[in-house]
């Protein structure tokens, strides 16, 4: 079954190591909440803001999740130090989407997917399903992998922080483009499909795609 999806807004942020100018002080004014945000949380809040999306269904994806906090917990256990409760509560894969909901007061459905290299495509599929019951949905995929020792794993030289987001709606218009998952240098594989879609959005005024549920 297919759903035709129109892209309303699109946003992208990335950096080889750390994304500057996520504008978190403006976007999350309460310091006591802001200080808890993980990197992926700040990136998601930034992307959603750029797409003018505050409340409503959100579908978020990350192949690797909250690696910085995960590594911190593993290090604590390995070195026989006490595990930080803050690091643990921030280590679940849905951390970023949850913090966005807390910052924006979003009580709608939030889903988090983690599907390896096909994460960003699967996130869009889930977004398309959600559009059958909701007017507008925000879909995004983020990898935030800037932790000490990441070089051991980063054989393909992907940028360590990468996030892409789209606000989408269902449409009766015909699809006017097809997106593939061709990998691009520096883009984490889990984001390839969304990066290709983002590039199309940058070059076309109106983008409508057909998404297989």
């Amino acid at each position: 079954m297919r759903v035709n999806v129109e892209i309303i807004n699109h946003a992208l942020v990335h950096a080889p190591k750390t994304i500057e100018n996520l504008n978190e002080k403006e976007l999350v004014k309460k310091m006591i909440l802001r200080r808890r945000l993980s990197r992926a949380s700040k990136i998601l809040i930034n992307l959603a803001h750029k797409c003018e999306y505050k409340t409503g269904v959100m579908v978020y994806g990350s192949a690797y999740g909250e690696l910085i906090d995960t590594v911190s917990i593993l290090e604590s256990i390995k070195n026989e130090n006490i595990v930080s409760p803050t690091a643990f509560q921030n280590s679940v894969y849905n951390t970023a989407a949850s913090y966005h909901s807390i910052v924006e007061g979003n009580t709608s459905e939030i889903l988090t997917l983690s599907c390896g290299d096909s994460t960003s495509y699967n996130v869009m599929q889930q977004g398309a399903l959600s559009l059958l019951k909701n007017e507008e949905v925000f879909v995004s995929t983020i990898e935030a992998m800037n932790f000490e020792g990441v070089e051991i794993f980063n054989k393909c030289g992907a940028q360590l922080e990468y996030g892409i987001g789209f606000s989408i709606k269902k449409t009766d218009k015909e699809a006017n483009t097809v997106v593939n998952a061709k990998e691009q240098k520096g883009v984490p594989a889990s984001l390839s499909w969304m990066k290709n879609l983002y590039d199309i959005c940058e070059s076309k005024d109106s983008v409508v795609i057909e998404v297989e549920l």
Partner: protein, 367 residues
């Protein structure tokens, strides 16, 4: 909208296999064990598999069991939906704690996706998708399965909830001060916290009604938008998820006979959930939490407890909870397995980040 049927289930829990888990639940047996040698200077009570097979073996056994019980030859026309909160973390820990360095860790074996990719290699599904929303992971997978079948997008969906025991979650919940040193006593005045446990459950969800089908009638979610780990004490989020499930099932609260609660044994969850249940159902509805039997299986909880709800409906028997003291709201907890006319039951799952998912299962009626 096509109706949605659960046509086969299997469980692996601290209590054992499917039959052993049902036996433990209906006969009030607990498989939770106290350990002094895991977290330094603390006793923790957790639920580990008895079987010595690898997690991967148990995963495949669980899926094989469902395949053999089903009307399918294979899974080539089946979508796989996985719900897991830790994915391959246990493998990562094994390598890291053994080698004391990260060099030998295979990052592809660490992620959530490892479960789906392991099963896909063996069974060649139509496609796979994995959800990771902490303790609602597999409940959300079931909700998505329902929607996809409702819309006719798929005929067969296999939902697998799976979380292996890892030190990250044991130490993590312990650091939050909510890991009990004894078997949990959900909703009771003497409750001290939860018990981390490992678990696997597989459910075959289809658009086809068979002789022993149980219907997945409703699914509802919401977000608390309150705190990353503590539930909203007003219970607004929990109530919203339950009401959304009722609306989705086109049922009023009086049509439900029983609630399989999220009931973890923590002060916060149980107080909030009790509030939500009393508000919506009053004090009369039968309630039990199965977490005293096999613990809190985190990402697998939604699926395991769904399988228990299916069994409750098949047996037309309310599952009891192991009760050791009074409960603070004087709600109607099931003391002993009781046969009753059970039409519809509710299963709740509430997670870190304020993610709430409620599922309604019921007896099928039309031919």
């Amino acid at each position: 909208m096509k109706k949605v049927y659960i046509n086969a289930t299997s469980i692996k829990s601290a209590c054992g296999d499917t039959g052993q888990t049902f036996d433990a639940v209906f006969n009030k047996k607990s498989a939770l064990v106290r350990h002094d040698n895991i977290v330094p200077q603390k006793t923790v009570c957790i639920g580990k598999f008895k079987e010595k097979n690898s997690f991967e073996d148990l995963l495949i056994q669980s899926v094989e069991e469902v395949l053999s019980e089903s009307d399918l030859e294979d899974f080539s026309n089946t979508l796989l939906l996985v719900g897991s909160s830790v994915g391959g973390m246990a493998t990562t820990e094994e390598v890291l704690f053994r080698d004391k360095k990260y060099d030998n860790i295979d990052i592809e074996k660490h992620t959530i996706d490892v479960i789906a990719s392991t099963l896909d290699k063996k069974y060649n599904f139509l496609n796979t998708r994995s959800f990771s929303t902490a303790c609602t992971s597999s409940a959300n997978a079931l909700k998505v399965a329902k929607e996809l079948i409702n819309y006719g997008a798929y005929e067969n969906i296999l939902v697998v909830g799976a979380d292996a025991m890892c030190m990250t979650t044991v130490f993590g919940f312990s650091s939050l001060g909510i890991l009990s040193d004894e078997m949990c006593t959900p909703f009771q005045n003497n409750r001290k916290g939860m018990n981390v446990a490992e678990g696997i459950a597989t459910l075959l969800v289809q658009n086809k009604k068979l002789e022993n089908s149980i219907e997945l009638k409703g699914a509802g979610t919401s977000s608390d938008a309150h705190h990353i780990a503590n539930p909203d004490p007003s219970a607004a989020g929990a109530m919203s998820a339950i009401k959304n499930a009722l609306k989705d099932a086109s049922l009023t609260p009086d049509k439900l006979s029983y609630v399989n609660a999220h009931g973890t044994g923590t002060q916060a969850n149980d107080e909030t959930e009790a509030k939500a249940l009393e508000e919506i159902f009053g004090k009369g509805i039968a309630i039990s939490s199965s977490k005293s039997n096999f613990g809190h299986t985190l990402g697998a909880a939604g699926a395991i407890e769904a399988a228990i709800c299916v069994e409750i409906l098949k047996r037309q028997t309310l599952a009891p909870q192991i009760l050791t003291s009074d409960n603070e709201k004087d709600l109607n907890f099931v003391e002993n397995a009781t046969t009753a006319k059970i039409e519809n039951v509710l299963s709740n799952s509430f997670a870190f980040g304020g993610n709430n998912t409620s599922l309604i299962f019921g007896v099928c009626h039309e031919s």
